[in-house]
Structure formats: structure tokens, C-alpha cells
């Protein structure tokens, strides 16, 4: 066991974790933030994507101990219904970018990361960047539209 200090969705916390505890399990079971999902636990599907110090990472490929001293953002910290939805969440809702919703938190986190780097991505850029996030339901067509929707909202905010 070791002590880590971590800022979770804006809140500073001290937690004791076993050395081998995955960041994913720590988030879901110790922090009880179950919006982050396990889709493969071998780094291939992106369902477990969270932001660590603003960068998208796969929480199934890290130990919780490695997040010591970091700032963690999960889907719960991104925004919530009714009046605090993030533009990316709005985009997914408006464009029907989700069906079962299982890949969705990871997809939203990856999209936020994408838009932070590239506020006006093309279709190809969106597809390239999200290629590591697997969705079995939507066929991605509306996910691409959702990201465009969010990008347009972001541009409107700027102007």
C-alpha cells in the first residue's frame, strides 16, 4: 500500500492504494466514479479514457500509484445535466452519437482532448483521432457529427 495525492475533478484527495491497483479500478471502485468504463483492460478500446493533467490517457494501462500528484478529470467532472453540459456532451446528445452509452464517456474524453488540440477538425482528423476508441453500436457516423457539433459550438463561443 502507498499513499497518493490526487486532484479528482477539482477536489484534492489523499488515498491509500495497493501497488498493483489499476488506475481504472481505483477510479471505479475506490472513488466510486463508475462513469469510466472497462471495455478491454488491455489498452485497445478506449472505454477507460480519462484526462490526466489535461491529456487523454487509458486508465487501464496505468497503476493508480502512477497518478500520484496529478490532476484527474473523469466524465463526471466534465459536465452534467441539466444545466452544466459540456459542448461535447451536448454534441453527442444532439447528433445521436451514442446508443448503449458504454463507450461514450471514453469517446467524450477523447473528443475533448482532440478539440483542445484542434478546435476545427476535419472528418478525417476526427476519425483518425478517435480510431483507438471502439464503439460497437453507432458505426461512428453520428460520433463524427457530434464532434463537429461541439466544434461549431466552441467556435460560436469564441466569436
Amino acid at each position: 500500500m502507498r499513499e497518493i495525492e490526487i486532484t479528482v475533478n477539482g477536489e484534492r484527495r489523499r488515498e491509500a492504494v495497493e501497488d498493483r491497483r489499476l488506475l481504472l479500478d481505483f477510479i471505479r471502485e475506490d472513488l466510486c466514479l463508475t462513469g469510466t468504463h472497462a471495455g478491454c483492460e488491455h489498452g485497445a478500446c478506449g472505454a477507460c479514457t480519462v484526462l490526466l493533467d489535461g491529456q487523454a490517457v487509458r486508465s487501464c494501462l496505468m497503476f493508480a500509484a502512477q497518478a500520484d500528484g496529478s490532476e484527474l478529470t473523469t466524465i463526471e467532472g466534465v459536465g452534467s445535466y441539466p444545466d452544466r453540459l459540456h459542448p461535447v456532451q451536448e454534441g453527442f446528445w444532439e447528433e445521436h452519437g451514442l446508443q448503449c452509452g458504454y463507450c461514450t464517456p471514453g469517446m467524450i474524453m477523447a473528443s475533448i482532448d482532440l478539440l483542445a488540440e484542434n478546435p476545427s477538425p476535419s472528418d478525417e482528423e476526427i476519425r483518425e483521432r478517435l480510431a483507438g476508441n471502439i464503439c460497437r453500436c453507432t458505426g461512428y457516423v453520428n460520433i463524427v457529427r457530434a464532434v463537429h457539433h461541439a466544434a461549431a459550438a466552441g467556435r460560436e463561443d469564441q466569436s
Binding site: E18, R20, R21, D25, R28, C32, L33, T34, G35, T36, H37, A38, G39, C40, E41, H42, A44, C45, A47, T74, I75, E76, G79, S80, Y81, P82, L85, Q89, F92, W93, E94, H96, L98, Q99, C100, G101, Y102, C103, T104, P105, I108, D123, I126, R127, E128, L130, A131, G132, N133, I134, C135, R136, C137, T138, G139, Y140, V141, N142, I143, V144
Partner: protein
């Protein structure tokens, strides 16, 4: 021809708010899901909960000499380790028998006893304080196995001297099927040409992003076992678990909360769904099991895996006369409950003639047992492989006759004035727009322009291919199909209960579930449309057997026609009562009462009115005012059976443009067009989502996904997402979609199933496009999926060496 006119009934459904139908209402499911507040089984926590993991067979076929759990039990944190012997008495082996005379039974113990028959078969269950400890302990369970040679191909299983696969077997098949209609031999003798081809569809799987998951807890107060289960079929799960666990059904409660995708995988009952409640009951503590991806890819169920030998008789003018099909399915190690190992074969034999006007048909085949993961349902059961096989053959006929493949199809498709059509496969097609769909497809894709572009690009060294598929498919089938198969459960009906409370708001309880289809939204639209109340005033509840009425659940594109049918009819009956009460309050006769925007008024006198809400208030809170003969109740139930039980048949046509890289064999999809006719559409946005996702799954099956085995050792080779390749965002092009709206004469509102068409037609269209592109290299027969770069490149090399086997019909 059967008399089917009796089924074309007017269900008496009157739509008061037509703007609610055909409207892309935003999903009410989404706020929780986009916020990370979905509730999946994995998220369930119970006080004192233990965690289970399974020890699985590392061998494809072996005798079990011993399972030594001593070391595992000694690990701190381990609460129990169970083996097959421990469960033998308290549970019954899963037997899923079909009623065909050729049927041979398989018994699948909940945990293996005596023998294992595939890699991944559960042999022991470890229960511990957390998942980490459980997995540590699982690695300490010692297995003493005596290897046996595995059956890894259908040819091995079909060999006359094959060892009995299950007790008492005389052949290597679960079942064989044959059916014949019309003068097959006569037409084959008469035809100008015949062509015989073998088409092979690989084994692949449903792979929902959330795997299977179960939490079980026994309430000591009343011995009710509550089971949170990631299932599409809560009530079937309750029946299956109750039967195999020997726990009475009224003390089993299934809660299926948000389910992270199903696609057919979760409409079966698996041994793990029985083992976990067994452990919870034995230990009297809550127990949780969450499948990991390796288990999901190797130990849940696989699908497809069909080898289709088709022989077609046709004339010079392109008329298709008759078809023979011999279908062999690799059904794996056990028959799945409740659909049985007859499912893929039985429906393939029925489906094979497709939407064409064949005058005669002979279908036969076998479902063969192998030492592989059991074969189960997956979106587009049997149709995906059958459509691939038939549509490839039809394309090869067009090629032989040098006809345009769209023109050849059009001259052979059933015309829209010919319904109902009794297919030689035994289906009754209710209605359709087969030719119109194809025409619309040609128009929207501007196929003539595409052909011009293809020729231009060929000159620049690019290999572009254009492929078409068109098909119809059985959806929302109820009792007829299952009665024919003689399955343990004759899937027959769905049930709704509609309740209006004192404030005039409505809750709908229904047995069907949703794994992304958006029924909480579309079902509410159905109710709001009839009752003319705001959409927000309708709440849809399902997934808990304690509150939902019993029915069959969600699979086979049945929810909107069957579950939605029961909702529409229960709502109709509720509305009839509201109309009677409104008439009483307005002192008018019920026939003269009209409903608009939530208000009832006498025809022609809208000034006098009473609202839905006022009626609800009277019934619940002022029952003294009720007229004689009316009870204080605003609840109706309807169990809809879907007569005549053969289902409703949507149709679809797809066109895809591919680019084949001559140096690598890589196939890139450039354009995708779909015309779909699933009858009247309740929520177009949701239907389009179903098509997009369905097409993507078909693309995966056409190009990459493969549950491959090593045939010597029997080891599965695709055990993670690194070797089981799922389509990603760069693999699926934008999909252009148009609708036609031919109603079913039978279902309430004319609704047909919408969820599977995308998947059903895409491997066929893609294979036809790749075949078209490869013609640029020479004679190539595209006859096997998936079309991996390796396979396509091999075709290119073969064509270049002019060694490919051309599909040459017998000249007559």
C-alpha cells in the same frame, strides 16, 4: 396458398398527435449516459459483496482427471472454490433441445464435469473478497486433464466414423434439415444454365463493448434471489435461471439495468448466469462476476460460421428459375438455451431463396458439433451468411450473362403487387418494396456516374469496385418459427402495461429491453401520439421482472413491432376508457368525442372540453363521480402475439464503392449507400443509428473480424482486441441513407423490424464490390470472408498468374 386475409386486421389505433410519429425526438436516455451516470451491472455494489472468477479449460477437448483446489482455498481472502462436482447436485445441466426428428441432444453442466469440450469452458469458480484475490487464487487451481483429439472442422465432424461428440450420438451433427418446394429437378433440367458455387462465412462474434456481467444476492427475509444481469431478455433469463438452479420463479428477480450492447449475445442464458446465483445462495452473500474481454472473445458465444453450397438454375434472358442450397454450420461444443443449435441452420435453410421469385427450391444441411465456443445468435442470424452467399451467386450469374447486376435483380425480385408471397423457403412475406428500393438505390448513388468514375480511375491504375446487395429478412417473428424448430421456449408474445396516474401522466411497463435502441424514447412517442399528451408525460419502464410484465424480451428486431405493438394496443384500450369517461363528463356519446392536444370535446363543439388530466383526476381521486359500470382504474395490459407468427419482412438494398490497393490487398470503403424499408418509422434518428451501427458490424465481418482457431491444437487465436479486429472510426465511411415506408398489413401501425438490415446486407455488398474491383486483374472468385488484405492479395496474385478458378456455368 394459406388464407392470410384474416390477419390484415384494423387494430383500431387512432393517432391523435400525428406529429409525434416520424419525429426525431432526442433521446431521454442520453442525459444520464453522457454524464457518466448510466447504471450497468458492473456498477452495482452491494454490502459485503464478494467477487467471482472462473477457471476455464485450457484445452479444446480433454477428460477431467482432477481439479485440485487446495492451494487456491488457502489463499487469504478466498471464501470458496467450487468445481463441477460441487454444482452437479444443486443445478441441472443445460439442455437446449430442438424438436426435429434428427435432433441429438447435448448436456452442458454449469461447471464442467468429466470432460471439457472447448477452450474457455468454465471448470471451477473462485469466490473471494475482491477480483484481484480471486484471480490470484484461480491461477492456483490445478487441473489434471487427459487430452483428446479435438474436432476442429466441419469436415472432421461430418466424417462417418467420427467419435460420439456427446453421449449417445450416432453422427457428428446436432441436427440435419431438408426441405423442398416445387419441381427442382425439372427446372434444373430445363434451364439454359446452372452454376454451382461454395460460399464461406467465417466464425465471428457479437462483441458488445460491455461484456456479460452478473451480480446475485439472496434476501434472507423471503429467499428471493435478486440477479442483476446484463441481459436482453429479463424474463427468459428468470425462467432459465430458475429452471437450472431449482429456485422457484416467483423467488427470482432479474434486474437488467443499462446494458452496454447486446446484438444477440445477451439473449441466451449462459452457465455463468446460473453459477453466480448458485454461489450467492450457497454462501448467502452477494457475489459479482464481470466478464473480461478475453472471456468474452473465447468463452461466451460465437456466430456465423457457415459454408453454403449453392446451385442455381437460370435462363439466357436472366430469369432465375430454381435454387439448391446445402448449408453446413459449425455449431461449436454445446446447444445454446433457448434457441438451440438448430437456429442458424434452420433459419438459413428457410431464408436462402431471399427476395427472388424462384419457382422451386431445395434446402438442406447440417449443424455440426466441434470443439469450439458454442454458436449463438448475433444480429442478422443466418441472413448475413445467406445473403452473402446468394447475392454473390446472383452477381456471378450477372457476370456470366454479361448483364447489369441491378437489372438482373430487378427482373427477378418479387413485385410489390405480389404480396403476401409464400416463399419456397416456407416464409410468408407480408409486404415490401424490393424493386423500388433497388431503383431508389441506383438513383441516389448515381450508379451510372459511379461506373464512369470507375473506368476513369482504372486508367489511372486504381482498382475501384461497385457492389450491390438486396434482401428481405424475417423480423419480429413470434411463435411460428420457434414452433417449427421445437425450441424449449416458443418465443411468442410481448406484453405491455400502461398506467395513468392522477396527474394524467403515464408510465408504460414493458417486457422488452433496450441495449442502445432508445425505447425509452420511441415507446413514449407511441403513447403520446395516441393519447395526445406531451411526450414528457410518458415514462417507459423495463428491465425489472418485479415490475415489468412477462414477455420474451429484445432480439430478432422484435421490439418495435412486438413490444411496441403491445404498447400501442394497451394504449388503445386505455384511450377507449378515457373516451367513455370524457363522453360521460361532456354528456355526449363516445362516438362523438374527439381528442386534440390532450383535450376531449364533442365533435364540432371545441368550446366545451375536458382534459385527459381532469379525467385522470376524477378516476383516481373522485371515484364517487364515476358513471355506473366504470371502475376506478386507469391501467390496461395487452399481450400481443404477432399473428400469424411468421414475422414481418423489411427489405433493404445497399451499394458500396471500394478501392482495392493492388500492392497490399487492402480494401478501403469510399462510399456507402443504403435504402431501407422497415415500414412506418417512429423515430428516424434512431432507425438511422441502427442502420449505421449495423453496417459497421457488417464491415467488420466483411473485412476483419474472425474468431480463428488453430486447427491442430484447438486453441483460439483471437483472444484480445489486438488479434480480434473491431472496425474503428477510420474503417467506416459516411453512410448515406434513404427510406421507403411500406407498412406491414399485420402489425399495429404497420411497423417492421429495423435493427438488423444494416448488418445483413453489408458483407454481401462489400464482397460484390471487391469482386468487381478484382475483375480488373482477371478471373477471380470471391467466395470467402473476411476479405483481409492477405486474402485479397492472394486473389490478386492468383488472378495475375491466371490460376484462379473461374465461375464457369455448365454450358447447355
Amino acid at each position: 396458398m394459406r388464407d392470410l386475409s384474416a390477419y390484415s386486421v384494423d387494430h383500431g389505433i387512432e393517432i391523435a398527435s400525428p406529429n409525434m410519429l416520424g419525429a426525431s425526438v432526442k433521446r431521454v436516455e442520453d442525459p444520464r449516459l453522457i454524464g457518466g451516470h448510466g447504471r450497468y451491472v458492473t456498477d452495482v455494489e452491494r454490502p459485503g459483496m464478494l467477487h467471482a472468477t472462473f477457471v476455464r479449460s485450457p484445452e479444446a477437448h480433454a477428460l477431467i482427471r482432477a481439479v485440485d483446489t487446495t492451494a487456491a482455498r488457502e489463499l487469504p481472502g478466498v471464501v470458496a472454490v467450487f468445481t463441477g462436482e460441487d454444482l452437479r447436485e444443486a443445478t441441472s445441466a443445460i439442455r437446449a433441445d430442438a424438436g426435429y426428428p434428427t435432433w441429438q441432444t447435448s448436456a452442458r453442466p454449469i461447471l464442467a464435469v468429466d470432460r471439457v469440450r472447448f477452450v474457455g469452458e468454465p471448470m471451477a469458480m473462485v469466490v473471494a473478497v475482491d477480483r484481484y484475490v480471486a484471480e490470484d487464487a484461480a491461477s492456483l487451481v490445478m487441473l489434471d486433464l487427459e487430452s483428446l483429439p479435438p474436432i476442429m472442422t466441419v469436415d472432421q465432424g461430418l466424417a462417418p466414423d467420427v467419435e460420439p461428440f456427446h453421449d449417445g450420438w450416432e453422427t457428428g451433427c446436432y441436427v440435419t434439415r431438408s426441405k423442398e418446394s416445387g419441381d427442382v429437378d425439372g427446372l434444373f433440367a430445363q434451364a439454359d444454365h446452372t452454376l454451382k458455387l461454395r460460399m464461406t462465412t467465417q466464425r465471428y462474434a457479437a462483441v458488445p463493448m460491455e461484456g456479460r456481467a452478473v451480480v446475485a444476492e439472496l434476501d434472507p427475509h423471503d429467499e428471493v434471489l435478486t440477479i442483476w444481469d446484463s441481459t436482453q431478455v429479463p424474463h427468459l433469463a428468470r425462467t432459465g435461471i430458475s429452471q437450472h438452479l431449482g429456485h422457484p420463479e416467483h423467488r427470482v428477480r432479474i434486474i437488467a439495468p443499462d446494458v452496454g450492447g447486446g446484438f444477440g449475445l445477451k439473449c441466451m442464458v449462459f452457465p455463468e448466469e446460473i453459477a453466480i446465483p448458485f454461489a450467492a445462495r450457497a454462501l448467502r452473500r452477494p457475489v459479482k462476476w464481470v466478464e473480461d474481454r478475453v472471456e468474452n472473445l473465447t468463452a461466451s458465444a460465437h456466430a456465423r460460421d457457415a459454408r453454403d453450397d449453392l446451385e442455381i438454375a437460370f435462363n439466357d434472358d436472366g430469369e432465375l428459375l430454381a435454387l439448391k442450397a446445402h448449408v453446413v454450420i459449425d455449431s461449436g461444443a454445446y446447444s445454446v438455451w433457448p434457441y438451440t443449435a438448430s437456429m442458424e441452420l434452420g433459419t438459413a435453410v428457410n431464408q436462402m431463396p431471399g427476395p427472388y421469385r424462384f419457382r422451386a427450391y431445395r434446402g438442406e444441411g447440417a449443424a455440426v458439433a466441434t470443439n469450439k465456443t458454442p454458436h449463438g445468435p448475433f444480429r442478422g442470424v443466418s441472413r448475413v451468411a445467406a445473403t452473402f452467399a446468394l447475392e454473390r451467386v446472383v452477381d456471378e450469374v450477372a457476370r456470366f450473362l454479361d448483364m447489369d447486376p441491378i437489372e438482373l435483380r430487378k427482373r427477378n425480385l418479387i413485385r410489390s403487387d405480389e404480396f403476401p408471397w409464400e416463399s419456397p423457403g416456407g416464409y410468408v412475406f407480408d409486404s415490401g418494396s424490393y424493386i423500388e428500393s433497388l431503383e431508389k438505390l441506383a438513383e441516389m448513388s448515381d450508379v451510372a456516374e459511379l461506373r464512369r468514375r470507375q473506368r476513369d480511375l482504372r486508367e489511372q491504375g486504381r482498382y475501384i469496385g461497385i457492389g450491390v446487395s438486396c434482401f428481405n429478412e424475417q423480423t419480429a417473428h413470434s411463435f411460428a418459427e420457434y414452433a417449427e424448430r421445437g425450441t424449449p421456449v416458443v418465443v411468442g408474445y410481448d406484453k405491455a402495461h400502461v398506467r395513468m396516474d392522477a396527474d394524467g401522466k403515464v408510465t408504460v411497463f414493458v417486457d422488452t429491453h433496450a441495449q442502445g435502441q432508445g425505447h425509452e424514447t420511441s415507446y413514449a412517442q407511441l403513447v403520446a401520439a395516441q393519447l395526445s399528451i406531451p411526450f414528457e408525460d410518458v415514462r417507459v419502464s423495463f428491465g425489472d421482472t418485479e415490475t415489468a410484465p412477462a414477455g420474451m424480451g429484445t432480439f430478432a428486431s422484435r421490439s418495435m413491432a412486438m413490444g411496441g405493438g403491445s404498447i400501442q394496443l394497451a394504449t388503445r384500450d386505455l384511450k377507449a376508457k378515457l373516451v367513455r369517461l370524457a363522453a360521460h363528463m361532456l354528456e355526449a356519446s363516445p362516438e362523438d368525442v374527439e381528442l386534440r392536444e390532450g383535450m376531449f370535446f364533442p365533435a364540432g363543439a371545441p368550446a366545451r372540453s375536458v382534459s385527459v388530466r381532469e379525467i385522470a383526476r376524477m378516476v383516481h381521486l373522485q371515484s364517487n363521480k364515476l358513471p355506473p359500470g366504470e371502475d376506478p382504474l386507469l391501467e390496461t395490459s395487452y399481450s400481443y402475439r404477432g399473428d400469424p407468427g411468421t414475422g414481418t419482412f423489411p427489405n433493404c438494398a445497399q451499394l458500396v464503392v471500394v478501392d482495392v490497393d493492388p500492392d497490399t490487398g487492402k480494401v478501403t470503403l469510399l462510399d456507402y449507400f443504403v435504402v431501407e424499408d422497415c415500414g412506418p418509422v417512429i423515430n428516424p434518428m434512431l432507425v438511422e443509428g441502427q442502420i449505421h451501427g449495423g453496417v459497421a458490424q457488417g464491415i467488420g465481418g466483411a473485412l476483419f473480424e474472425h474468431s480463428l482457431y488453430d486447427e491442430e491444437s484447438g486453441q483460439p487465436l483471437a483472444t484480445t482486441f489486438l488479434d480480434y479486429l473491431m472496425p474503428g472510426a477510420t474503417d467506416v465511411p459516411d453512410i448515406r441513407l434513404e427510406h421507403l415506408y411500406t407498412p406491414s398489413p399485420w402489425t399495429p401501425g404497420g411497423v417492421k423490424g429495423a435493427a438488423e438490415a444494416g448488418t445483413t446486407g453489408s458483407p454481401a455488398a462489400i464482397a460484390n464490390a471487391v469482386a468487381d474491383a478484382l475483375r480488373g486483374f482477371g478471373d477471380v472468385l470471391v467466395d470467402e470472408l473476411p476479405l483481409t488484405p492477405e486474402r485479397v492479395y492472394a486473389h490478386i496474385l492468383a488472378a495475375r498468374a491466371a490460376q484462379a478458378t473461374p465461375a464457369t456455368p455448365d454450358p447447355r
